[in-house]
Symmetry: C2
Subunit: 263 residues, 2 copies
DNA sequence: CGGGTGACCGTATGGTGTACGGAGAATATA
DNA sequence: TATATTCTCCGTACACCATACGGTCACCCG
């Protein structure tokens, strides 16, 4: 079985010269309004429907299930017709990312700084839980769509006016959002194993115990053996404890730095 | 062109009953030694050669270039023969990850705590620079191979004996390693754009300026506009400044926490 | 009421992972 | 030594994938 994932198009443009970027126009399609004076026949579907279908497929069956053919099927189209809505798959993924970035309301930015920072991370956490495929996407260059941009602006505002340099602001938000991926991956991976493999991580461990005992012997891995046991036990117990605890520590660190830096 | 990426096999096992896990056995192949008493003809290649070829392909042309057919070509084999060395592509990726985890020597763990923490992050940073495709891989469940395990043990030892709970140790290492991916992605993405697209990020920005000026207007994105400018300027300037600066802050935060926690 | 535009799609190309079964080589066993 | 077993290599095939190209035809504008 193929486990394919797709990079963001990275706003690569089509190198058609002065044409700005079709992806950009697609991302901001609601801002540009309907294309007026189109000659040909009416479109039977819409960009939003295509993107929504893709997101649905990814949510239910994973990012691998997102294929132009399947999208076409769902919409009652033939594969090649999808390309009249979207230039290609990479651009479609951009649109998917921006779409899901916009489906959750951005909470108010009141309260103390630590609480604001926590809100940033928790929103991201929730987004990963709703759309696990986001973790399988190369987010090196997030699409500059309206929802992603709104989200980013919202994050930055949470730490604006504290005397931080622009660079520090960028770094702090990146750090905070990046932190979430770790616990989110661990959590979703454990969940996926319970659901799909029908054997929990514990079962897997038990099945492979004889081999692992031989390999991961306490002489070579004294610390890992001890720590791994604790980490495994907690994965069993709490759902997002690891996330919340790590978050609290991280926020402490960030707040400390802001205090020193703004002095 | 397809931009596929591949998840780790996640040690899924083959559900063949009591058979532990072929992937595990492959990962620890050096530990088990040569298989004695094999009946058929000698193998013309080896698992190590297959994995090395795959890593080379990924290093030079990206993870997409890693295909069973291409590997076979390089080794003078036909595609299906590769499957006599490796069960499948997911398992191959596991082996690739463990291989590159072992190619860099783990430095001594002496010196002050901050220096030790920095060494952990810098090693990871270097590994990402050498093998950018590692960033395109779903590392939710890293393969339990010898090199990955050694690496993990080495990380944990750097913060062992400080009075931290096992759980905290796990979390801190995860946090530190997770942090690296952010700057590494940014850095490599910028580099890739310079090399491949032959237009720097600045050029892209200029080409799309008219559209972006209309969209990302200062009214809607006052903070992003300001911060983005600063972040972009620095991306131009320093190579790993962002990484080093962020690392210093993060370490400060971690050290603070350890001090409080161990009291 | 044409002319032109663009949505839809049939076909095809070149890729992917990998299941299946066969040929033949090399060793273990009788 | 002869036979049985087992394993490597691989030819073929299947089911996908993204997408380039060109044709057909519905529709709007002039």
């Amino acid at each position: 079985m193929v486990y394919g994932e797709y990079r963001l198009s990275g706003m690569a443009g089509e190198s058609t010269g002065s044409e700005p970027d079709r992806t950009l126009r697609l991302l901001w399609r609601s801002h540009f309004g309907e294309p007026v004076g189109s000659r040909g026949p009416k479109q039977r579907s819409s960009v939003d429907e295509v993107v929504a279908t893709a997101v649905q497929l990814a949510d239910v069956d994973g990012i691998d299930a997102v294929s132009m053919r399947r999208i076409a099927d769902r919409l009652g189209l033939k594969p090649m017709s999808v390309y009249t809505y979207v230039p290609g798959k990479a651009e479609l993924v951009d649109l998917m990312v921006d779409r899901v970035a916009g489906e959750m309301e951005l909470p108010r930015l009141d309260g103390e700084l630590p609480e604001r920072l926590a809100r940033i991370a928790r929103l991201q956490w929730e987004e990963y839980l709703r759309h696990p495929w986001l973790l399988s996407i190369d987010t090196s260059r997030p699409p500059l769509g309206p929802n992603v941009s709104d989200h980013w602006e919202w994050c930055l505002r949470a730490i604006d006016g504290l005397g931080l340099s622009d660079l520090d602001m960028d770094r702090i938000v990146t750090l905070l959002l990046g932190f979430v991926t770790g616990p989110a991956r661990a959590h979703l991976d454990a969940e996926r194993h319970r659901a799909v493999d029908q054997e929990s991580a514990v079962d897997w461990w038990e099945r492979n115990e004889p081999l692992l005992d031989e390999i991961l012997d306490a002489k070579r891995y004294p610390v890992s053996a001890r720590v791994g046991q604790a980490a495994g036990a907690v994965e069993q117990a709490g759902p997002s404890d690891v996330f919340e605890f790590g978050l609290a520590r991280l926020i402490d660190g960030i707040v400390d730095y802001i205090g020193v830096s703004a002095r």
